[in-house]
Amino acid sequence: MEMSFSPQQLAFRDEVRAFLAQALTPRLRHGAALTSGVFAEPDIARAWQAILEAKGWLVYHWPETAGGPGWTPLQRWIFEKECAQAGAPVLPGMGLKLLGPVLYTFGSAAQKAFYLPRLRSAEHVWAQGFSEPGSGSDLASLRTRAERDGDHYIVNGHKIWTTQAQHANRLFALVRTDPAVKPQAGISFLMIDMALPGVTVRPILSASGDHELNEVFLDTVRVPVADRIGEEGQGWTIAKFLLENERGGTAFAPQLLADLVRLQGETGPLRGELAERALRLRLEAEALEITELRTLAEIEAGEAPGPRSVITKLIASEIRQGIEVLAVDAFGMAGLQWPEERPFYDAGVPAPFHSATAQVAAARYLNARAWSIFGGTSEIQLAIIARAALGL
């Protein structure tokens, strides 16, 4: 048993650290620190994406054959941990984390040649069109239709909870291409140019005041058949691959631990109940970090990850929510301010009371409530754990 890093791994960590020390400009750090939602805002994200791409580390989680740097799972983890500790922006994952692996796994040679470079260069900014009104976590009930018309599909439907769709120019979506077969079998996976006629984005403002979510209406949109990934009817398989990738791919703990440390740097030493809450959150996050590393070590050793890998999102959601309400409490009245203007680091935002971190606390708190709802509610997670880990 061994929990420490090898000399090579330590050298790699130092390399990452040195890179971050010079690459992360004050503006990028500032923007990342004052992000109220899950992902960095477009201006920050673009700049950081370009820097990582220039370094060759943007698609660090892709295999070498797909253009990644060929890192081991542990190297990826070290990179993520260093990024979190350095306060790097969190890039939107829809293109890089979700679509990318789908493209290099299921895409045709032509699709890969066209789409992968544009994804990396951020010429294409992707949104994810899976959820539909009323469908909740139940993808099989999908109602968006795509009817074949020569070399095109005519797509009609209504997607919801589409993160950052207002900044995106491309949408990947699940559509029903065959209503006659059983629900899972009739689904296909399309890439849709959002400039096409018939695509309309309607914002959904969050209770936090942020605009992260949208509805996307697809009204007789003509999508080339060439922009379907995989076979017709293979959409369900691809979606499962993507969702498993999403679930397994992320280590939550490093970011949570870093945020907890940063918060206490801003508030100064906490006392009494608040100190106890901070300590409990720290312990939970430290445990989560090892829980995540245990799965990683299994993957690194070529073993199948145990059922424990399904528990991390639930725990991470609760720690995230605990951190954000702690922040509100630690800042007192200052934690209750809530300017309507966004993003928080923008010149248009009123001068903060007390501190910029305090100014963003309430919005962060409100957005953190979404952690236990999107990407599988905590109730769904508990049901999955009961089945997968306990056979209940």
């Binding site: 959820s131 909740g136 139940d138 919801i160 909870w161 959904i204 403002l205 969050s206 209770a207 936090s208 005041g209 979510l213 009494g272 109940e273 608040l274 929510q321 309400v325 509100v328 409490d329 007192g332 009245m333 200052a334 934690g335 209750l336 301010q337 809530w338 300017p339 309507e340 009123p350 001068a351 009371f353 309430a362 708190y365 409100l366 957005n367 409530r369 979404a370 236990s372 709802i373 999107f374 509610t377 905590s378 109730e379």
Partner: protein
């Protein structure tokens, strides 16, 4: 031993509830503070007089009156200066020696035509009040400030004093606070008997507790309605055992918080401050947990600004954290 309102109270309550229901359906109302004309309409109906003691020209103002009206306001999720602008300021003015106070201020409060804000901090000297008083709720709309200074004095400040500086800061419930600084701002001193500042503060805090309890009731109602109607996997989610148990927990929290509120409102005067602190500690935690669960059960829609639950969470977050929130209340009880 009776926890139900008497006939007079029931009449007033009915009036308020009907007024608020007509103007503030929580399921549809827009976010943001209550419009001034609604506020003054409530004043014309005599509501604020019911919240003020006779000494302040009112006709009520007992803790239970304050509690009943504030709970009705809480139910509507309306954003108003009730707790501080009416209850604290009104009772402070009522407690002040009549020679030292402006009766026209009380009339303005009672009529709903004058907005006062309550602040704490600063030092009073010959030259006036000086200090950074921090975020003052409704401080931008206020025409005057009542300030409980650090040295124990109570001062009345005109908002248009050039040595009073305020800067707007939006709060999480959508209301507008002022970041208030005074640099020898002209301060009329009020002669307030010993203990009356703390008494007025406790009464205002009771109003905040009651607003939270009212908001809890509305959020629970909305949630129960929602889970009965929302279907998943072919059945109403209200039929899921987990939803039932967790909703039952919310009901328990609501009723327990209500008990703490009643206790604080009906406690003998000597126990009022402690029982208000206990109610703040209890209701502050219960209200936020209930609001969070209400949002959770509403799923994706719960975290948008399109439903009342999201607004309710914002309002409850603010109310529960005022005056230092549950932590400060527990610290007060432990001291």
């Amino acid at each position: 031993m009776r926890f139900a309102p008497n006939d007079d109270q029931a009449m007033v309550l009915d009036m308020v509830a009907r007024f608020l229901a007509a103007r503030t359906d929580p399921a549809t109302m827009a976010a943001g503070p209550m419009p001034a004309q609604d506020w003054s309409a409530l004043g014309e109906l005599g509501l604020f007089g019911f919240l003020l003691p006779e000494a302040a020209g009112g006709m009520g103002g007992a803790p239970q009156d304050v509690m009943l009206v504030a709970e009705a306001f809480g139910r509507s999720l309306a954003i108003t200066p009730l707790a501080e602008g009416v209850v604290i300021c009104g009772h402070l003015l009522g407690a002040a020696a009549s020679s030292s106070r402006g009766d026209q201020l009380l009339a303005g409060i009672a009529q709903g035509t004058l907005t006062l804000a309550f602040a704490r901090g600063g030092m009073i000297s010959d030259k006036g009040l000086t200090g950074h008083l921090g975020l003052v709720r409704d401080g931008m709309a206020a025409e005057a400030f009542l300030v409980a200074a650090e040295d124990g004095g109570v001062a009345l400040l005109a908002a248009d004093d050039p040595r009073l500086h305020r800067r707007p800061v939006r709060l999480v419930d959508g209301s507008l606070a002022a970041d208030l600084r005074c640099d020898a701002a002209g301060a009329a001193l009020l002669e307030v008997p010993e203990g009356q500042v703390a008494a007025a503060l406790a009464l205002g805090q009771l109003a905040i507790v009651a607003e939270m309890v009212g908001a809890m009731a509305t959020l629970l109602d909305l949630t129960v309605d929602y889970v009965k109607q929302r279907r998943q996997f072919g059945q109403a989610i209200a039929s899921f055992q987990v939803i039932q148990h967790r909703c039952a927990r919310l009901y328990v929290m609501l009723e327990q918080a209500r008990s703490m509120m009643l206790r604080a409102a009906l406690a003998p005067e000597g126990e009022r401050q402690a029982s208000v602190a206990a109610a703040r500690a209890y209701a502050g935690e219960a209200a936020l947990r209930l609001a969070e669960e209400a949002v959770q059960f509403h799923g994706g829609m719960g975290v948008t600004d399109e439903l009342a639950v999201g607004r309710g969470l914002r309002r409850v977050l603010l109310l529960s954290r005022l005056f230092g929130g549950p932590c400060a209340a527990r610290a007060e009880l432990a001291a």
